[in-house]
Symmetry: C2
Subunit: 312 residues, 2 copies
């Protein structure tokens, strides 16, 4: 049977719960604060934010909104303005205290315009992605991250990983800096049955697998990297990398722009902002330093799964 | 005689020099670092950045660019793509160490599309503005600031101050926060002779007056406020206000978006970023605190010149 919007919504709510529990356990100290909010046009959300021992600032948001399609969204999506719509999803951004623990982002979402008449079928799609933004790129970690995502993708369709890996490279890109946000990951949007030999149930299972991949991926990194010692220089570099994260989210990220443009709940949208950030004019890194190597790795089209010289 | 583009450009270069000299003198310690840059399509600029005793991070940029009108700009300005164009101006953003010294921004600019044929006249306009972003709003300072700008405006046309004050209120506005960037100032764009009984020379004189107002306004504030003692709480509030400044510049500021969209020199465009900034989820101020009073003042349509209860 096709998954209904209420089944999808309930699964997203459960995912938020499970991820928050896993993160609290891995952090060992921080507890999520929860804010319920209502959208004036219909629906609302459950924002959860943590400030912990390992995670300096992290947000795990669930929302399920509905109502009449706002004009700006209708135009952007080329859908009839004013139709009834439903959208639900989970969005996560975590900023760590340690410069050795990457920033991570995950989103899974579902969008639907219900059938207007018996003849006009409903319009629906899934979207989502996970991407990793290390302050210092560790190629072996980037490889393991991509291997994990490839394994998840390959279980559902052999085209998914190569297609969604490239999509992430193109999406999480700071054009004005000519650098990627991090080591990428996967990104997909408007995923429908027309495009793949998979029905709605099967596509939902893929999205569920992506959502469920998040907690094991990040809690392993937390365990391995949160307690490594770091220097003032490394902390300073982290703050500058966070500045780039701010630039991506406010200048290029379509989700953020859309939310702000359409009067979403600002504090929930901007939970992705780092706790602190720095900008230094024409900041320069020392040649051959760990910082220079990181910049060298912030490029599209690195085949992280396939790299053999892991120390590159 | 009508001012030529080379006269205007030369005046802007001189303005940059004079402002940098005045700021170095007022800072007493910092010296501007200068970077010359070339624009691939034609022209270039002279970026100057200071890190001083009073000014933590400040940029005073001059540029004069020319060439074929880029497609994105042509479309946005509703001008023929590919025409020859010329644009020159001075842009300033200063971030102070002290939370008691406001952030300030100033811009003056000239744009021209030279006459294509003997029959088609050239298209040209001036634009610019000054606005003040106190971390803590001091009504008497805001009043003096607006009185100064009104005096400058009134020397040229009685409509200028009320029109450009309102324009600044509307322009320097964070729609997603429902707050103004600061106490406003003046903003004007596409200023042509058609709109006012003033010829090009007279409009240029107004723009010169605006440019010349900058140094006295800010160096007086520096002298009065830079050395006031401040607490950790006040510093923390400053970092959060800087976060809002980042949000305005990256989400709403048309100049910044345009520059980044059209492959301008990123480090010159983003010299406006604060040295450090903070974001705290759902940051709350104490009722009746200085921070709460400041938020209360970040509204459009406050008649700063006319307020009588200066302690409000």
């Amino acid at each position: 049977m096709e998954p209904t919007k209420s089944e999808i919504q309930a699964w997203f709510e459960g995912l938020q719960d499970r991820i928050c529990t896993a993160l609290e356990e891995a952090d060992g100290q921080g507890k999520f604060r929860e804010d319920h909010w209502q959208r004036p046009g219909g629906g609302g959300g459950r924002s959860r934010v943590i400030e912990g021992r390992v995670i300096e600032k992290g947000g795990v948001n669930f929302s399920a909104v509905e109502g009449a399609l706002p004009e700006k969204i209708g135009r952007a999506l080329q859908l009839p303005v004013g139709s009834a719509f439903f959208a639900s999803g989970v969005s996560i951004v975590l900023h760590s205290h340690s410069p050795h623990l990457p920033i991570i982002h995950m989103n899974v979402r579902y969008f639907e315009i219900p059938a207007q008449t018996a003849e006009a079928p409903s319009i629906w799609w899934f979207g989502g992605g996970i991407d990793l933004t290390p302050h210092y790129v560790v190629p072996a970690d980037a490889q393991r991250f991509h291997q994990h995502l490839k394994m998840v993708c390959d279980r559902h369709h052999q085209d998914f990983y190569p297609k969604f890996k490239k999509w992430a490279d193109d999406y999480f890109y700071l054009r004005h800096r000519k650098e990627t946000r991090g080591v990428g990951g996967i990104f997909f949007d408007r995923m429908q049955s027309n495009d793949y030999p998979l029905d709605k149930r099967q596509l939902f299972q893929f999205v569920q697998d992506v959502g469920d991949a998040f907690a094991p991926i990040y809690t392993q990194l937390m365990a391995e990297r949160a307690d490594l010692p770091f220097s003032e220089r490394e902390k300073n570099w982290q703050l500058h990398r966070r500045g780039r994260y701010v630039e991506f989210n406010l200048v290029w990220d379509r989700g953020t722009k859309f939310g702000l443009d359409t009067d979403g709940r600002t504090e929930s949208i901007l939970m992705s902002m780092p706790p602190t950030a720095k900008w230094t004019y024409a900041f320069e890194v020392e040649p051959n330093s760990a910082e220079a190597t990181t910049l060298d790795h912030l490029k599209k089209e690195i085949d992280w799964v396939g790299i053999t010289d892991i120390a590159r």
